[in-house]
Point group: C2
Amino acid sequence: MASIIAIAINEMTKKRGISMAAKARKPSRASERAGQSPAGRRGRLSGVLRSDWSDRRKCQISGTFAVTPDGKKMAPTNPLLAGTGKITVYDQEHFQGKRAEFAAGCHNVAECGLDNVRSLKVECGAWVGYEHSNFCGQQFVLEKGDYPCFEAYSGSNSYRIERMLSFRPVRCANQKEARMTIYEKENMTGRELELCDDYPSLQAMGWSNNQVESMRVRTGAFVCYQYPGYRGQQYVVESDLGGGEYKCYREFGSHARSPQIQSVRRIQD
Amino acid sequence: MASIIAIAINEMTKKRGISMAAKARKPSRASERAGQSPAGRRGRLSGVLRSDWSDRRKCQISGTFAVTPDGKKMAPTNPLLAGTGKITVYDQEHFQGKRAEFAAGCHNVAECGLDNVRSLKVECGAWVGYEHSNFCGQQFVLEKGDYPCFEAYSGSNSYRIERMLSFRPVRCANQKEARMTIYEKENMTGRELELCDDYPSLQAMGWSNNQVESMRVRTGAFVCYQYPGYRGQQYVVESDLGGGEYKCYREFGSHARSPQIQSVRRIQD
């Protein structure tokens, strides 16, 4: 698999648990933007923290390439697999067992010698994981952070999923102005509501029922959830896939069984 | 139980499922604010939808009172239980079985003749549900919308919870400017980060590990999550409870077992 950077038995098998030592870090672009926003939208950083960040660009330099174990860079054959992030997956919980690092998508972890992904760390970028190979089944949005077990990444407990067999970078995340329109009926008809922020409850915004039958993502990427408060099934929708049009709920994902959507948020890396 | 408005066998037992008919609605305060914000933060509403809203104030009129089945209004004995919202709970999934409506908190659903809450609808306000009676155990933030089964409200699948035995309105939700500070160490020491928005990944904001040992909520209310993307254990923290100070992770909630926090968002009703 071209996108493997490294596969190794985790040398940290003696260090169980999920704590991470703090590392020297510089401000990310996201947090720099935050400081510039009129309302300080993305948080104000203390003087102490500002001098202690990592350089997000380090990931981006090699992010658009897949890198083989011998260090050879290869452009991904599928443009969906290109990315600007970095993700490390493990075949055992709590970052144990076999490990593989990726700077681009992976359509089947079995090809990397892993039977499953049971824990992972996102180092930069936003990713979407899938229950099955070839980007099928339940979807899981994965943002920077530590996911020590399947409960941490699956998010939905409608039925227990204990596998993630493929993943890829989210397209169009972090657009300056993410915008989408949701529609009451199929084929972009019926009542509509334009979204440009995060909405833990669409009904609190006045959407008068709990269903969205179609949507058009104009810019950026969003994740839609079955229940309020970002719970339940997740559907990642992106502006530059299929023109951003999702004409019926079956196009939300191979796992979609109903048009029930009650919360929506932007994906930003 | 003073706060019961009505308990009745649900007359809709033949109508299984989670769909709701659209009702005539007026703009909520939240959405009105949205329209006024410079960047249209909370979504732009189409002309069609604007004429079709419910009147949120209808709930607020009786919201600060507990109402007995005979219509007598009583002030809640515990100020924590007062609220400006409305929640309807059911003892069976998909809004079936015994039903009870509340305009204020409930410390034990057993006193209302329900052995458990297996589905619920929040009609207005933001609430916090608890696994056990007397506001103990796992916490579940509940915003406007439909929760047809326990998976819809529990949100965390670290272990399966199939009960919600008490709930109350969230205090201080919807403050104009919600602000809090998180700290690396206990007793508000170590590195700090000021938060005033929603953060699906604290690490993407530069928080260099996955733990928060203490916090101070200055205004408003937030919900903190164990994992990125608003997953895992939830901790509701409010500015006017105990001065908004949470000096160690054990004060986050009776269910807190570690200081692991990786995403945070404001609570707005």
